[in-house]
Amino acid sequence: MKLNGPVKPMNETYTLGPLQIGPPCCDPEPLIRVDNLSLYYGVKPALENVSLDIYKGCITALIGPSGCGKTSFLSVLNRMTDMIPDCRVSGKVHFNGRDLRDLALDVQGLRRDIGMIFQKPVPFPLSIRRNIELPLREHGISKQAELNDVIQQVLQDVGLWVEVKDRLESSALALSGGQQQRLCIARALALKPKVLLMDEPCSALDPISSGVVEDLIQRLRGKYTVVIVTHNLAQARRIANYAGFFWIRDQQRAGCLIEFGQCKQIFEAPAHELTAAYVNGSRG
C-alpha cells in the first residue's frame, strides 16, 4: 500500500527526498495519544472530550469551521497553552509514553521535540543566518562549523538554500511571504523535532508559494510527524494520511471531534452526516 514514486521531476534544490502523494502511508504507530481532552478558557469550554491518536511519520489534517478549537488543540500538544492565563486543560495526552501535562516536564525540551509553525510567518527581525542560529545556540549548539552545517542542511531541506545562500547575512524580513514561511519551517527543522504542528501554514500565502510550501510538507512525510490545520479541504485531501473533523456543539459552543480516520475514508465515505455535509461543502 505504499505510494512512493516521484510524481514530479525531482526538484534538485530539495534534499528531503521525493514527493510522496496521498494516503495512506504506513502501519499506524501512535506517537501522540490524546485521551478525553477538554480545554477551557476561564469557564468557557473550547474543546470537550477529544480523543485521537497521532501516527508516527504521517500527516494528520485537522479540519472544521472557524472557532471549533483546532488552534487550541494544537497548542495543547506543545504546551503553548501555558502562556495563556486562565487556560485549563484536562484529560490525558501521551507523547513518547509520557504525560504531556506533567508539571515537572521540561517544557523547553518538549517544544524542541514538537515544533510549531504559525499561520502568519514569524521571521525574527534578524539576519537569515541568525534566525536559525539563535534557537540552536539556545539549545546548546555553539560551534560555528556545526551551526553552519545545520543551517545549510535545513535550508536545503526546505529548498531555500539556492535562493538565499548569497545573502545569509541580510534581513529575513526582506524575504517574500512564502520564503519567510519556508525559513520558519527550516528554523523549526534545525532543532531536529519529532513532530511539527502547523496552524494553517499556507493561508497567508499566494497560490504559488502555497503550492511550494505544500510540496515541502509532503516531503516531510515519513521523516517527521506532521499535524496540520487547514481550511483548504482540497489541500487536506491531497496531503493528509489521516484527518480529524472538528465541529462546534450548538448548546455549549464548545468544540468537539466528530470523526477521525484515514483521510480517504473521511472524504469519500464519512461515517457521520455532519462530516459528509462539511466535506461536500453544504455546511460550515
Binding site: 502562556m83 504559525f118 525574527f124 534581513s171
Partner: protein
C-alpha cells in the same frame, strides 16, 4: 470648499509660527553666542564671575553630572520596564501601583526634586553639595521618562515574537535579551535621549544639590557648576555676563547635538551587528 481652504491655511500658519519661533530662538542664540565661541573659551576657567574667561570646568562638571545620572538611571529603568511589560499582568496590583506612582513622579516640578535631593543625598546621606548628589537627583528625575518610554518600546514589539520564540523552546530571558530588547532598541535610545535632554537642561534641581562652585572638580564628591546653572547665574546675577551666557547656551545646544549623534551612531552599529531591521 471654503472650509477646506481655511483648514489648509490654518494648518500651514500654525506650522509656520512654530518653526518660526524655533528659528528665531536658535538664530538669536547663534548670532549672540557664536562670536565668543572658541577652543580657548571651551578650555579656560571662568574669570571675574564668568564675565570673561571660559567654561572649561563647567563642561567637565556638566558631563560628570550627566554621566552619574544616566549610569544610575539607565539600568534601573530598564529593569523596571522589563518587570512591568514582561513579568506582570497589565492590570495586576503591582503593575498599576508602579505605573501610577511613575505618572505622579513625572509631574513633580523639578524644584521639588531639588529640595528632596538636598535633604536626602546632600544632608541625610552626607554627600554634601557634590556632582554625585546632583547626578543622583537628576537620575530620580528622569527615571519616570526612561521607564515609560522603555516600557512602551517593549510593549510595541509584536507578541508573535514571544510566541514564536517560545515555540522554539527559547527561555523568556533569552527571548528578552536576543529579540525583544534589540527590537525595542530604537525606542530605548529615543527615551534615553529624551532623558539626557531633560537632565542637561535642568537648573532648579541642581542649584540645591551640585551647587555653584565654578572650579574644576577634583572628584565626584566635589561641588560642580552645570552649564544650565552657569547660564542662569550669568544672565540673572552677573551684570555684563550676557555674551558669555549666550555662548554657554550655544554650547549647551551643541553638546546635546553631539551626544545625540554619538548615541545614534552607536545604536546603528549595535543594531547592525545584532539585528537587521532593513536590507
Amino acid at each position: 470648499m471654503f472650509k477646506n481652504v481655511l483648514t489648509t491655511v490654518l494648518i500651514w500658519l500654525t506650522a509656520l509660527i512654530v518653526s518660526g519661533v524655533f528659528v528665531w530662538l536658535l538664530s538669536d542664540i547663534v548670532i549672540h553666542g557664536l562670536p565668543r565661541l572658541s577652543w580657548a573659551f571651551l578650555a579656560e576657567a571662568p574669570k571675574n564671575a564668568g564675565r570673561s574667561g571660559g567654561i572649561g570646568p563647567i563642561i567637565i562638571s556638566t558631563l560628570s553630572i550627566l554621566l552619574v545620572a544616566m549610569v544610575t538611571a539607565t539600568p534601573l529603568s530598564l529593569a523596571t520596564a522589563v518587570l512591568l511589560s514582561e513579568f506582570t499582568e497589565n492590570d495586576s496590583v503591582i503593575g498599576r501601583l508602579v505605573r501610577r506612582s511613575l505618572d505622579v513622579l513625572a509631574g513633580v516640578p523639578s524644584i521639588v526634586f531639588g529640595l528632596f535631593g538636598n535633604a536626602f543625598f546632600c544632608i541625610y546621606l552626607g554627600l554634601g553639595f557634590s556632582i554625585l548628589s546632583g547626578g543622583l537627583t537628576l537620575a530620580c528625575m528622569v527615571l519616570p521618562i526612561l521607564i515609560r518610554t522603555a516600557e512602551e518600546g517593549l510593549q510595541a514589539t509584536p507578541d508573535d515574537y514571544r510566541l514564536a520564540a517560545a515555540a522554539l523552546g527559547m527561555s523568556r530571558s533569552a527571548t528578552l535579551v536576543h529579540l525583544l530588547l534589540p527590537s525595542a532598541a530604537p525606542a530605548l535610545i529615543a527615551g534615553l535621549m529624551l532623558g539626557v535632554g531633560r537632565a542637561v537642561a535642568e537648573t532648579a534641581a541642581l542649584i540645591f544639590t551640585s551647587g555653584y562652585v565654578d572650579r574644576m572638580p577634583d572628584s565626584l564628591l566635589d561641588s560642580g557648576r552645570a552649564l544650565s546653572v552657569h547660564i542662569y547665574d550669568l544672565s540673572m546675577n552677573v551684570a555684563g555676563g550676557d555674551t558669555n551666557a549666550y555662548s554657554s547656551a550655544l554650547m549647551l545646544i551643541l553638546l546635546l547635538l553631539i551626544i545625540n549623534s554619538i548615541a545614534m551612531s552607536l545604536a546603528k552599529q549595535w543594531l547592525h551587528r545584532d539585528i537587521v531591521l532593513y536590507e
